[in-house]
């Protein structure tokens, strides 16, 4: 099987990027290996760890499970695009202050996931631990833990991640 190449245009962290890529290329590999955007991490390449989480047209997704060719003209925000110049995003700042990481490899995914999660909660999406499926979401620690459980952290920084997010959420 020979590679099939197509042209794709992506808007990544505010910059328009055009590239010709192998149709087998995941969005994650397109970002990391073709565009040099290495903020999103590859932890499992199977959508099982969440390290590659980005915001794709505003929603959190595992970029390792998305083929780049299927997302022509997509708007992508990675962890590299969250800060405003030298001013960190409130979640980035909170993660540092609460030491919500150790090795830092899951962190870009955790933070992008948290951004997406806060939007979901704001929109009233319930989770598996929500007592009331239609009431406004109150982001208790249990809600945050549940909603962030798609992002694994082997260093075991969950006890810092939850308060880091809670402080921004409340």
């Amino acid at each position: 099987m020979d590679a099939v190449e197509v042209e794709v245009s992506l808007r990544v962290d505010g910059r328009q990027r055009r590239l010709t890529l192998d149709t087998r290329t995941s969005l994650l590999d397109a970002l990391r290996e073709r565009l040099g955007v290495t903020g999103p991490k590859k932890g499992c390449d199977h959508g099982q760890c969440g390290a590659c989480t980005i915001l794709l047209d505003g929603r959190r997704v595992n970029s390792c499970l998305a083929l780049a060719v299927a997302h022509d003209e997509a708007e992508i925000t990675t962890v590299e695009g969250l800060a405003d110049g030298d001013t960190l995003h409130p979640l980035q700042e909170s993660f540092v202050r609460h030491d919500g990481f150790q090795c830092g490899y899951c962190t870009p995914g955790q933070i992008c996931s948290a951004v997406g999660m806060l939007t979901e909660a704001e929109a009233g999406w319930p989770s598996a631990v929500s007592a009331d499926l239609t009431a406004p979401v109150e982001l208790t620690d249990a809600e945050i833990s549940e909603r962030m459980s798609g992002n694994l952290c082997r260093c075991g920084a969950y006890a810092g991640i939850v308060p880091a997010i809670a402080e921004v959420a409340r």
Binding site: M1, D2, A3, D22, R24, T25, D29, R32, E33, G36, T38, G39, P40, K41, K42, G43, C44, D45, H46, Q48, C49, T78, V79, E80, L82, A83, L88, Q92, E93, F95, V96, D99, F101, Q102, C103, G104, Y105, C106, T107, P108, I111, V129, A142, I144, S145, E146, M148, S149, N151, L152, C153, R154, C155, G156, A157, Y158, A159, G160, I161, V162
Partner: protein, 697 residues
């Protein structure tokens, strides 16, 4: 006689400084091994053996070579001959022999990762397959006594007469405990970029020790160490699995040598990590305890067995903690290992102590019940006055204080010693305790350089590693105190063999070894150049010997408590509350230290309830080799974690007064959980992990 090392006055040490590498990590700009920018990189995908034992009789690479974009296919037929094949794990592609399923038998280099991976799938191999044996079991015919066990410890130790003491003891426990195969699974897969240029090999590697990698790799290729440079500023976790160079690093270097000047990138897939990146051996431990009616030990015996690979011996030092933990005049600890057709086991967070203290501390719980004693009190009664193994005094030992404080924090007085007595909201609720311990290791071989810069600044250089351990921050704090300057005046450099040599980040020894070298370099600089050195003035210091190492037994201690809830109908087991109290000398940075201990306990909880690599004996490999099926604790699996430590002033360990905290957090967690599960239900768990089926029968 040399006196105790002069102690450092803490100014920056003890301050909960935010992680200095934090902004780079939260913005995604910290560079991990695979992310160092390269021009026209090539991608390497390993080819792995699909049998567990045998020999390759034919390997067909034509289809792979025909794929456009493929530059090379390496096999044992065309790979470079290695100059040194003494390490069986690293000596890949030197013959057609297969020692375990998943072993590297080739590699494909191509211009894109997609092409390399696809082409690797086209390599066809025929084998003369042999029967394999991949299951460790008691009484395995291959069990033998190794010359020594990991860490250089004696294989066996015997004091007194255990059999006689057990025969005459009022109360005995005699049980076998097992821990399963466990995989380290750092979030960052093991990754290497290799560049071979003008006889110089550069490796961007995800490693716990750049100098260790250089020392391992250089002789394989007949290179002088100076011809190999290893760079690793940020490491996405390791937990021991990046403490040794593994075979993929050799494969990357081989490919780079075949394609000089071209950067060759290799990242193991998550699945490949279950074959190629080390793991914790399963253990079987027969533990026998003998005591009088008051719970005072007369005998402790631990017989531990574990597995290793055909091609390399690694023996987990499972029983060593039993040599020093509690007083008993009669003691025997033995290790036996057997070679199986399995991947090479290696270090995983607290090798030895972690599985060993699971068995011993559950046995303690059993003995406490047999004596009708409170489990905390049993441990207090068996506190030794001096180290039972060496007779030396402890440099400091605050286990009892940790137990008392932990008991207070968990509400131990509310624990009903009768199993199954407490029921709340449909759950059986119990409390359990375990002790924790980890040695203070000090290895020779680290050096640091301190250089005076303009404006009262200093550059401190050492080839140390930060795998999330907080090294960037803690070493900066130590350097600041050693130089008596603010932390803002110190620029630390680590993670590069171009810097002075550093020992591997293992055995919780980083701060002791690297910190001591920095302190000595700073004192040397001040001694030679005074308070206001000229710009460019430099001094080098080494870790050096600590004479107190020969006079004192040095260990960190801790106590862990767990609350476990078992659903009375479904058996679902959770640990909503863990308490850990530690006595680990001076804490250099309370913020990063807390994370280290939390992280250890979280991994311990994960070990207690979830983790197990299931080996399929029919095909000879771990079947659940990804994160969907090898479960590690998720965010929602963690309840309340209460971590604290005692202010411990130990004048003997090193100039900082620190003992090391990377591993002690995982030691004892699983036992505390299993003991709490017993208190909740009356079901004694001797085999990890603790799963709901145990409570349904």
């Amino acid at each position: 006689m040399t006196t105790t090392e002069q102690r450092l006055t803490p100014r920056a040490m003890g301050v909960p400084l935010d992680r200095l590498d934090g902004p780079a990590k939260v913005t995604g700009t910290a560079r991990y091994a695979f992310e160092h920018p390269q021009t026209q990189p090539l991608y390497l995908h390993p080819v792995q053996a699909t049998v567990a034992a045998g020999r390759i009789t034919a390997i067909e690479t034509g289809a792979a070579e025909a794929v456009p974009g493929v530059l090379a296919v390496l096999t044992h037929l065309n790979a470079p001959r290695l100059a040194d094949t003494s390490d069986g794990e690293l000596a890949i592609l030197q013959s057609g022999g297969v020692a375990f399923r998943g072993q590297i038998i080739g590699g494909v280099v191509a211009t894109s990762p997609e092409t390399a991976r696809h082409a690797a799938s086209l390599v066809r191999t025929a084998y003369d397959e042999q029967p394999h044996d991949v299951v460790l079991r008691a009484g395995h015919e291959g069990l033998y006594a190794p010359d020594s066990v990991n860490g250089g410890y004696d294989t066996d130790q015997v004091q007194g007469d255990v059999e006689a003491a057990l025969a005459s003891a009022d109360v005995t426990v005699d049980q076998t405990y097992t821990t399963p195969t466990l995989h380290n699974n750092p979030m960052e897969p093991h990754s290497t970029i290799a560049v071979w240029d003008d006889g110089q090999l550069t490796l961007y590697d995800s490693t716990q020790g750049v100098h260790m990698v250089r020392k391992s790799v250089a002789p394989l290729f007949g290179l002088d160490p100076e011809q190999v440079r290893v760079i690793s500023p940020h490491v996405g976790g390791g937990f021991g699995s990046k403490g040794n160079a593994h075979a993929h690093v050799v494969l990357a270097a081989m490919a780079a040598r075949q394609l000089p000047g071209r950067p060759v990138k290799l990242a193991l897939t998550r699945q490949q990590m279950f074959f190629l990146a080390g793991y914790r051996t399963p253990t079987l431990q027969r533990v026998r305890l003998g005591a009088d009616r008051d719970g005072r030990f007369s005998a402790i015996s631990v017989e531990a067995i574990s597995q290793t690979a055909r091609i390399k011996e690694f023996t987990e030092q499972t029983a060593v903690a039993a040599r020093m933990m509690y007083a008993a005049p009669n003691r025997r600890t033995t290790h036996r290992v057997t070679r199986l057709d399995v991947p090479v086991p290696s270090w995983m967070r607290a090798p030895g102590e972690c599985p060993g203290m699971f068995a011993a501390e559950v046995a303690m719980d059993e003995l406490a019940e047999a004596c009708g004693l409170d489990p905390v009190e049993l441990r207090v009664r068996n506190e030794p006055e001096t180290d039972p193994e060496t007779g030396h005094p402890f440099s400091s030992r605050n286990l009892v204080a940790c137990l008392r404080e932990g008991a207070r924090r968990i509400g131990w007085e509310r624990r009903d010693p009768t199993p199954g007595a407490r029921r709340e909201n449909g759950a059986l609720v119990g409390l359990g305790v375990s002790a924790s311990v980890y040695p203070v290791f000090r290895m020779p071989g680290s050096a640091a350089r301190v250089r005076a810069e303009a404006g009262g600044r200093y550059t401190v250089s050492i080839g140390a590693a930060d795998l999330g351990t907080g090294t960037w921050t803690a070493l900066t704090q130590i350097a600041a105190d050693a130089l008596e300057v603010p932390v803002e005046h110190v620029d630390l450099r680590i993670g590069d063999t171009a810097l002075p040599p550093a020992t591997v980040a293992g055995g919780s020894s980083g701060i002791t070894c690297w910190g001591s070298a920095i302190v000595h370099a700073a004192r040397e600089l001040r001694g030679q150049h005074g308070r206001s050195p000229a710009e460019g003035a430099e001094a080098v210091g080494e870790t050096g010997d600590n004479p107190d190492t020969e006079r004192y037994a040095m260990y960190a201690f801790g106590a862990q408590f767990a609350e476990v809830r078992v659903d009375a109908d479904t058996g679902e087991v959770r640990a909503p509350r863990l308490v850990g109290v530690f006595a680990a000398g001076r804490i250099i940075n309370p913020k990063t230290a807390r994370s280290q201990l939390l992280g250890g306990m979280t991994m311990g909880l994960s070990m207690a309830l979830y983790e197990q690599s299931h080996v399929d004996p029919s095909i000879g490999q771990v079947a659940n080799h990804d994160f969907a099926e090898y479960h590690i604790a998720t965010n929602a699996d963690i309840g309340s974690l209460d971590v604290s430590w005692l202010d411990e002033d130990d004048p003997h360990v090193n100039a900082m007064g620190s003992k090391g905290i990377g591993e002690i957090g995982i030691v004892g967690t699983a036992a505390a959980v299993a003991n709490a599960a017993y208190n909740a239900t009356g079901v004694r768990i001797r085999d990890l992990p603790v799963t709901l089926d145990a409570f349904l029968s």
